[in-house]
Each structure stands twice: as structure tokens, then as C-alpha cells.
């Protein structure tokens, strides 16, 4: 076992961060130490593994998804406009008060309309979407995307309480769903209904076949502690 300071010096030598003097000292030590040379060979293997690790090529969906969201009008990138001259005459406190009243209305107006009982939000574009459905004491994250000829729905409960997640929709789609349920138990209480019960934190993935055109989306409902909330999920489009 070589001392830590020698090991550190070897790391710096191989990482190219040793000064010429430090490098010369370490090389001199290596010339006299078989253990040191063995250690250098081990570290060279480690550095090579890191150097040769594959770099992933970003899939085209990355750029397409971003540009699709932007062109659909997520928001403009423009600079905040300068305050109009006439507004300079209005005291800043009055402006702030007006903004406090009006801004939440504008924000709500910009959100996608959701059914009344939903306590959550949907974000995304036509190709993928995320939703967060909440009831007091429990929350489930939902992600929807298209993979080949299937719609993939990922559900993840935060584990604060036992939950039931019910999917309702076209009976043929739900009957032929492939379910990777993990710790969840799966039941089919009737045509067009699929229920996952999770005792705590856990996740499940459903792969639903997509019709060539006009597939009807499913609805997800979260139930926990006698409360429920849900939302309809968009069907991801084929453009990615």
C-alpha cells in the first residue's frame, strides 16, 4: 500500500496537473518502486476507462421537442419592454399593487384548462407531457410519451400514503396494455378500467398500443384517503 501523498502525486501526474518539478519527483520515485509502478498501471486503467466512456449523441427529439414547444408559443424570448414613460409618473407601489392583483389572473389564464376536480398541472408539448396529480397527503407524477407504436405512461407515487391510480379509457387499449408494475398490484374491475394499488412509494409503467390514427387518450385518477383527483392525458403525436 503506497502512502496517500504518493497516490495523490500519481493522480496528478496522470491527470496532467503536476508541475514539471512534481512530475520529475514522481517519475524518480517510480523508477525505484515496483509497487508504485503497479499502482500507476492501475490508475492508467482507471483514466482510460473514463477517457473511453461513450458519449451519447443527443437524439433528434431533443432539438425537435424544444423547437416544437417554442414554436407552439411557450413564450417569447424577447427582452422585457422598457417601462413606458407615462408609467414613470405612477408611483412604484401602485404599479406593484396592480401587478399583484392582475398577474395571478394572467398566469391562470395561460395554463391549460383542467377539469375542476384536478389539483395538478400538465406541461409539455404534443410529443410528450408531464402531469402532477395531487390530493391532500399524496401525489403522483405522470409522464406520457410515444415510443414507436405505443404510448408509454409512467406513474410514480411519492409514497406519503397508500394510493390507488385508476386509468379509464377505450377498453381495447387498456385490455392490451403491457404493465410493468413493480410493487403495485394490478386489477381490471371492468372493461376500460385498470387500477394500480401502491402501498407506498413506487412506480409503474404502462405501454398502450396506439391506433394508427385517432387514438383516444386515457384518463388517470388518483385516490388516497378518501379524496380523488384526475386528469385526461393527451395522446402523444407521431411527430417525434
Amino acid at each position: 500500500m503506497i502512502p496517500t501523498e504518493r497516490d495523490r502525486a500519481l493522480h496528478e501526474l496522470l491527470d496532467g496537473s503536476a508541475t514539471p518539478r512534481e512530475a520529475a519527483e514522481t517519475e524518480a520515485w517510480l523508477a525505484t518502486s515496483a509497487e508504485g509502478r503497479q499502482r500507476r498501471a492501475e490508475l492508467e486503467a482507471l483514466f482510460a476507462r473514463l477517457r473511453d466512456a461513450p458519449r451519447a449523441t443527443p437524439p433528434p427529439q431533443l432539438r425537435e421537442g424544444v423547437m416544437s414547444a417554442i414554436r407552439r408559443g411557450v413564450a417569447p424570448a424577447h427582452r422585457a419592454p422598457a417601462r413606458p414613460r407615462w408609467l414613470l409618473l405612477v408611483p412604484a407601489g401602485v404599479v406593484a399593487a396592480l401587478l399583484a392583483i392582475l398577474a395571478p389572473q394572467a398566469w391562470r389564464g395561460s395554463r391549460r384548462a383542467l377539469p375542476e376536480e384536478v389539483s395538478g398541472s400538465i406541461a409539455g408539448n404534443a410529443a410528450f407531457a408531464r402531469a402532477e396529480i395531487r390530493v391532500p397527503g399524496a401525489r403522483v407524477h405522470v409522464r406520457v410519451r410515444r415510443t414507436g407504436a405505443e404510448e408509454r405512461v409512467e406513474l410514480e407515487a411519492d409514497g406519503r400514503a397508500p394510493v390507488e391510480i385508476e386509468l379509464t379509457g377505450p377498453a381495447d387499449r387498456l385490455a392490451s396494455a403491457r404493465v410493468r408494475a413493480g410493487a403495485a398490484t394490478v386489477s381490471h374491475p371492468g372493461p376500460g378500467r385498470l387500477v394500480l394499488a401502491l402501498p407506498g412509494a413506487g412506480s409503474a409503467t404502462l405501454s398502450l398500443p396506439l391506433a394508427a390514427a385517432g387514438a383516444v387518450g386515457v384518463r388517470v385518477e388518483l385516490r388516497s384517503g378518501g379524496r380523488s383527483a384526475g386528469t385526461a392525458l393527451p395522446v402523444p403525436s407521431a411527430d417525434r
Binding site: 497516490d7 495523490r8 493522480h11 496528478e12 491527470d15 496537473s17 503497479q38 498501471a41 492501475e42 490508475l43 492508467e44 486503467a45 482507471l46 483514466f47 476507462r49 473514463l50 477517457r51 466512456a53 461513450p54 458519449r55 451519447a56 449523441t57 443527443p58 437524439p59 427529439q61 431533443l62 432539438r63 421537442g65 424544444v66 423547437m67 414547444a69 417554442i70 414554436r71 411557450v74 413564450a75 417569447p76 424570448a77 424577447h78 427582452r79 422585457a80 410528450f128 408531464r130 407524477h141 409522464r143 410519451r145 410514480e156 412509494a201 412506480s203
Partner: protein, 181 residues
């Protein structure tokens, strides 16, 4: 892409030119995607996070201080999004490597994917700070100084943390039978 070219693209994007912004996405997507991929260990999550990063960059571009480097600004969004995503998703999934086509045969390719999978498992065992610094320096090729600039750390601290992180990584690889020369 030179800084002046990039400055021009930022200016055009601020005028609403989505094509200019698309060029900025093209320019930085590989680093952002690979950072997210290695930090999260999952290609799908990396895609989600990368899309969220650039969408957020578009939304907030007007707040970018052009005295700074654009990548540093995007990087801060990327690392925040990555860490937030990881906090939300406690589970991890096996990495789905998309190895570039090297012309290797199926056996060599399988071996390379296996080595990459084991490396990713060992990386995922590191703390987020250690993993980030190893990914930035060794997998994404940033110098010690650049890592320090991105992380707000002195260069000396970066070197010291890298040393500790590599020791931990090496121990993880050994446990998986990939240690030694």
C-alpha cells in the same frame, strides 16, 4: 462557434428569431444531454431534462447577462434541472447506452456496453457533487479551471475533489470486478 457569433445569435433570439435559438441548442445540446445522462443514469430522463433546460433558457433568455459566457448560464440551468429531477425521481433505472457506431462487431460492442454500464453504476454511487465533477472533467473534457469556473470553486479545490472522487469511483469499479490494470 465563436463568442461573437454566439452573441449575435443571442441578440437575434431576443428579437424572436427561433432559428437563431435553434443554432444555440445545436451548439450546446451534446454537453447538456451527456451531463444529464451521466448524472441521472437514464437516457429518457436525460432527454426530458435537456428539453426542459433549453425551454427554460428560451423563457429566461432576456435575463441572461451577456457579459458572461452563455454556456455557463445554460450550465447552471442544466445542473439545477438535473438535481431537481433527481430529487423528484428517487428510483434509478439501468442506463440505456447509445454507443456510437464504431464498426466493432457485436461481441466487442456488447463488451463495451457492459463496461459502460458498470462505469455508470459506479458513478451513480458517488455523491452528486463528486459525480458532477468527474463527469465534467473526465467525460465532458472540461479543464480543472473550467470546472472551477462552472462550479464556483478554486482550481486547487477541483483537483482535490477529483482525487477523492476518483478514489471512490475506483473502489466502486473494483467491487464490480473492473479494478486494476
Amino acid at each position: 462557434m465563436g463568442e461573437s457569433d454566439e452573441g449575435g445569435l443571442v441578440e437575434r433570439a431576443l428579437q424572436g428569431d427561433t432559428g437563431a435559438f435553434e443554432q444555440l441548442v445545436e451548439s450546446h445540446q451534446a454537453v447538456v444531454y451527456n451531463l444529464a445522462w451521466r448524472m441521472l443514469g437514464n437516457a429518457e430522463d436525460a432527454l426530458d431534462v435537456s428539453q426542459a433546460v433549453f425551454t427554460k433558457a428560451w423563457l429566461k433568455l432576456a435575463t441572461f447577462d451577456r457579459r458572461n459566457r452563455l454556456f455557463s448560464w445554460i450550465y447552471r440551468i442544466a445542473i439545477n434541472e438535473t438535481l431537481n429531477h433527481r430529487r423528484r425521481r428517487r428510483r434509478t433505472e439501468p442506463i440505456e447506452d447509445t454507443l456510437p457506431d464504431t464498426g466493432a462487431g457485436p461481441h466487442e460492442r456488447h463488451e463495451a456496453e457492459e463496461r459502460s454500464r458498470i462505469l455508470q453504476e459506479a458513478l451513480m454511487e458517488l455523491g452528486a457533487d463528486d459525480r458532477e465533477i468527474v463527469v465534467l472533467h473526465h467525460l465532458l473534457g472540461f479543464s480543472h479551471r473550467e470546472v472551477g469556473d462552472l462550479r464556483g470553486l478554486p482550481e486547487k479545490t477541483v483537483k482535490s475533489r477529483l482525487f477523492t472522487a476518483r478514489q471512490r469511483l475506483e473502489a466502486g469499479l473494483r467491487r464490480r470486478g473492473l479494478g486494476g490494470a
